[in-house]
Amino acid sequence: MGEEDEKQQVDKHNWGSEELSKVSDTREEKDDLKLNTDALGNLFNASAPARPKINIKKEDLQLIMNELELQEGTVRAKLIETNGDVREALRSLCGL
């Protein structure tokens, strides 16, 4: 009964939406990989996601956010890129 209601909504103007809804289906993913467990263990040991820590000063962050009207994430990413060098980050964001 619920299904019928759903179907009625899919009129000729909305035929595409039915196709589209398949995109967001949560089907169970394929589960058939063959893997060498030793190699796997090595990979995990080698590449545990440890990110380098870069010290970012709050006032640097604030300065650039305010001067260039940017979001924190953008500025933070740029400061990480410049290893926390505020001058370089500001110049780069100004296109210099």
């Binding site: 589960d31 990989l33 060498n36 545990a48 996601p49 001067e67 210099l96």
Partner: protein, 852 residues
């Protein structure tokens, strides 16, 4: 062991209710929302469970999927308050925050849920999706790491983890994991997904700066690659990177063999052959290929752009005759690049007039345009020749000739829709928007089943400021029983939003115009939102190269022309709010000094009208609400509210951010942003935009105006420290050693005295630094000065709008009349300057003074 939903709660359910709860979850997963709600109701009406947290959460989730957003929010919040220790409640709270686009909040909620229920796959997946969605690559990597450890045999776990490393530019890690994956899972035969994977591996290698390895792997796996074109293109590019132009050339030639009409291949071929600077060699190459591929248009067309004089004439002749015989609609479009050069334009014109003369002399029943006696032209050749001639003279601004030719074409075959469209277009270019719309309606009436012509007609009506009629016209192709405007907004129809916004602006309805501009912004948001589903879909389907392209495209989606046009519309209105606040009253133009009695009458009328309109709108709204039962669709933006903003500069700056951030090539965009940021006191941003503009086109008139205005403002800036240092550096880039605004402007005037647009820029800049300037007679003289280039109708309209805005000082009525007369003599059809076609019957033929 994972805890199933319903048992994680601090409010445990008895067996019967637990059964219902499981059914809710199942109904939700199968998208049977109404059934789900019924089961939820059963639990919530059982004694003691009216505030059962997880049930409320599930109910909210279902309501959310049904579009009842507000109700859903309330439900989920209530659920969370009742049961703060349930991971289900936190998870659902996160999902709801996500639909509200509060991503940071959603991520926090997911993390809370994961603290309560470690290793929950679904929550980890949802978390990772949001992390990639907001481009938190670090977070994405660690979520994908967790997922991979939990599900080591699942493809998507691996792919997600590889993608995460790739996006973090950790190419070696990505490639190492990829290699391990490929080693153990190479299929024996045809496998599309594996083919995609190989191409993705190659993409990473190229981005890692390893073209040699990439090429080697590509060759090794060549039999696995299904997409042969992608294989060949990648190979050719790699060979070029590795400086093996000879081999690359062979691959491009093989690609041309597959598709001899891809312009890109010819471009690459020229690069490989090292003949970019030698038109002669290019021509030889193109002629060789034209000989080989008899039916290919590209080599013949590209050759047209390389030659001049007699040679051009000969080639044009060979190019045009078959297309005239066939009636190829693209003929004129293929000639457009030649119009940049007056001499090439003249060659086209001489050919066309020669054909026409021949046609006239010999009669189109027995003429042969290429002089071969045995053949005579089909009767339609004459028709397409007249159409081409009309296009040509329209392009050259010779309106009367263009009209004559299109008239001949219509006489020849009165049933061709395109003829009337072209006629309308000629009137549009000549500035008579009413006549243009009239002819477009005529064209439309000849083929009422064609959506394209219907859209064109709507557009032309909007240009003629007839919004209501345009909507009626467009409604022929929109959903029945619904307002055309709101349907077109649903359909994300951008040209409509833009044209409609401009039409509102032209009748001083700035609120409505702003609303349309915000719709465009809304559509872009929707598209960025739409990528969400592809984070799972692309990994599952293994279309990883396309996925990476999608992510990168979304990152700079707003660098699109429609966005720019919409933003420009909005920003200019926000600036007008500050400069001319009285304009925001749409009836302000009607109320003039010294009309007290009439003024009162008009005010009364106006108020009455407004009231009626408001009532009507409210009624409509109510009807709509009843129809949709609280379901909200599309952007809910109120025009009046937009006009009442406290911070127009801030609103404008939001649009500016999206114009200059993605490195657009539009110099006018940087100029507009510089204006906003200067007013806002954001010195670095203003300078950044000026500098970017300087890199693109340093002599652009609009950029110049901004440079002068900023230089005049510069001494007033009080900066210090790092900001000052950076600003000084930018100043040097933009101005060199020049620090005097007036001097800069005088230099510009001398250097560009033969360009009308530059003259206007000089004048605007001069008025901005010295309000006592008087350049009115100089401007008027410029209009008539045949030594001044670029005196187009478009520029004249800009001048007129600029005068009304106050950019060029105070113009008296006499001055305006002089302007009108002068421009009228140049562009007699322009409505803006009192021209246009007069119809005997129509007594209400509009004159410029009233319509503007």
């Amino acid at each position: 062991m994972p805890t199933p939903p319903g048992q994680s709660s601090s409010q445990p359910l008895p067996a019967k209710e637990l059964g219902y709860f499981k059914k809710i979850v199942k109904s939700y997963e199968q998208k049977q929302y109404k059934a789900g709600l019924k089961f939820a109701q059963k639990i919530l009406t059982s004694p003691g469970f009216a505030e059962h947290g997880e049930t409320l959460a599930m109910k909210g989730l279902i309501l959310n999927c049904m579009g009842k957003l507000q109700e859903a929010q309330d439900c989920v919040r209530r659920g969370l308050v009742s049961d703060l220790r349930s991971y289900v409640c936190w998870h659902v709270f996160g999902l709801i925050q996500k639909t509200e686009k509060k991503y940071d909040e959603a991520i926090k909620a997911y993390k809370r849920a994961l603290m309560l229920e470690k290793d929950n796959l679904q929550i980890l997946r949802d978390l990772s999706l949001l992390q990639i969605h907001i481009r938190d690559y670090d977070g994405y990597l660690s979520s994908k790491y967790e997922l991979l450890q939990l599900r080591q045999t699942q493809r998507v776990s691996w792919l997600g983890y590889i993608v995460a490393h790739h996006l973090l530019k950790e190419h070696n890690l990505a490639l190492g994991i990829m290699a391990e994956y490929i080693k153990n899972n190479t299929p024996s035969g045809y496998d599309f997904e594996f083919s995609e994977l190989i191409l993705y591996q190659n993409l990473i290698m190229r981005e890692a700066g390893l073209p040699d390895v990439a090429l080697q792997k590509l060759e090794e796996n060549s039999t696995h690659i299904v997409d042969k074109v992608a294989y060949m293109e990648t190979r050719a590019n790699l060979l070029m990177d590795l400086e093996q132009p000879k081999q690359a050339e062979n691959v491009w030639r093989a690609l041309i063999e597959r598709n001899p009409d891809s312009l890109e291949y010819y471009d690459m071929l020229e690069k490989c052959m090292g003949i970019k600077d030698s038109p002669k060699a290019q021509l030889a190459m193109l002629d060789g290929l034209a000989e080989k591929f008899k039916r290919a248009a590209a080599p013949r067309r590209l050759a047209l752009y390389l030659v001049e004089g007699e040679e051009l004439r000969r080639r044009l002749h060979e190019w045009m005759i078959p297309m005239l015989r066939k009636g190829a609609p693209s003929l004129f479009a293929s000639l457009v690049p030649l119009y940049k050069y007056p001499q090439k334009q003249a060659v086209i014109e001489s050919l066309i007039t020669e054909y026409v003369k021949k046609m006239d002399d010999e009669g189109y029943g027995n003429v042969s345009l290429d002089g071969k006696d045995q053949e005579c032209e089909p009767p339609t050749t004459a028709l397409w020749l007249y159409v081409l001639a009309s296009h040509h003279f329209d392009r050259c601004g010779m309106t009367q000739l263009a009209l004559n030719y299109i008239e001949r074409a219509i006489q020849h075959t009165p049933t061709v829709v395109e003829n009337y469209m072209l006629k309308a277009r000629i009137y549009k270019h000549a500035g008579d928007y009413d006549e243009a719309a009239r002819w477009m309606e005529e064209a439309q009436s000849l083929d009422t089943a064609d959506r394209y012509i219907n859209g064109k007609c709507g557009k032309y009506l909007l240009r003629a400021k007839r919004s209501d009629e345009a909507n009626k016209m467009l409604a022929k192709f929109t959903r029945e029983g619904e307002n055309a405007a709101s349907h077109l907004t649903d359909m994300q129809c951008m040209w409509y939003e833009l044209e409609s916004g401009r039409a509102f602006r032209s009748v001083n309805k700035y609120g409505e115009a702003l609303r349309k501009a915000h719709h465009i912004d809304f559509h872009f948001n929707t598209w960025i939102e739409d990528q969400y589903d592809f984070h799972t879909y692309c990994l599952r389907k293994m279309t990883l190269c396309s996925y990476i392209r999608l992510l990168r495209m979304c990152d700079k989606l707003r660098d699109a022309d429609y966005y720019y046009q919409g933003a420009k519309l909005a920003i200019k209105i926000y600036l007008r709010m500050i400069d001319r606040p009285d304009d925001m009253n749409e009836h302000s133009a009607l109320i003039k000094e010294g009309m007290t009695d009439q003024e009162i009458k008009k005010m009364k009328k106006k108020l009455k009208k407004q009231k009626e309109l408001q009532e009507e709108e409210e009624k409509k709204k109510k009807d709509k609400e009843q129809k949709e039962e609280g379901l909200q669709r599309g952007p809910q933006i109120d025009a009046e509210a937009l006009l009442k903003t406290e911070d127009p500069l801030g609103e404008a700056a939001k649009f500016c951010h999206n114009i200059h951030t993605f490195g657009t090539q539009k110099v006018t965009g940087y100029a507009l942003c510089a204006e906003v940021y200067r007013r806002k006191g954001k010195v670095l941003l203003a300078l950044k935009c000026l500098n970017e503009g300087e890199d693109r086109e340093p002599t652009h008139p609009l950029l110049h105006v901004q440079k002068v205005k900023f230089l005049a403002y510069w001494p007033k800036c009080e900066l210090s420290g790092l900001v000052k240092e950076t600003a000084d550096e930018l100043m040097k880039c933009v101005y060199g050693a020049e620090r005097d605004a007036a001097e800069l402007n005088e230099k510009f005037k001398i250097e560009h005295q033969h360009d009308f647009a530059h003259r206007l820029a000089y004048a605007e800049a001069q008025y901005s630094i010295d309000s006592s300037t008087n350049l009115i007679s100089w401007i008027l003289k410029s209009i008539e000065d045949s030594k001044v280039n670029g005196r187009s109708l478009k520029m004249m309209i800009k001048l007129k709008d600029g005068i009304e805005y106050g950019k060029y000082g105070k113009w008296s009525k006499d001055d305006m009349e002089k302007l009108r007369k002068q421009v009228h003599s140049l562009f007699p059809l322009s409505l803006d300057f009192g021209g246009g076609v007069q119809h005997k019957s129509a007594s209400a033929a509009p004159t410029s003074a009233e319509t503007n």
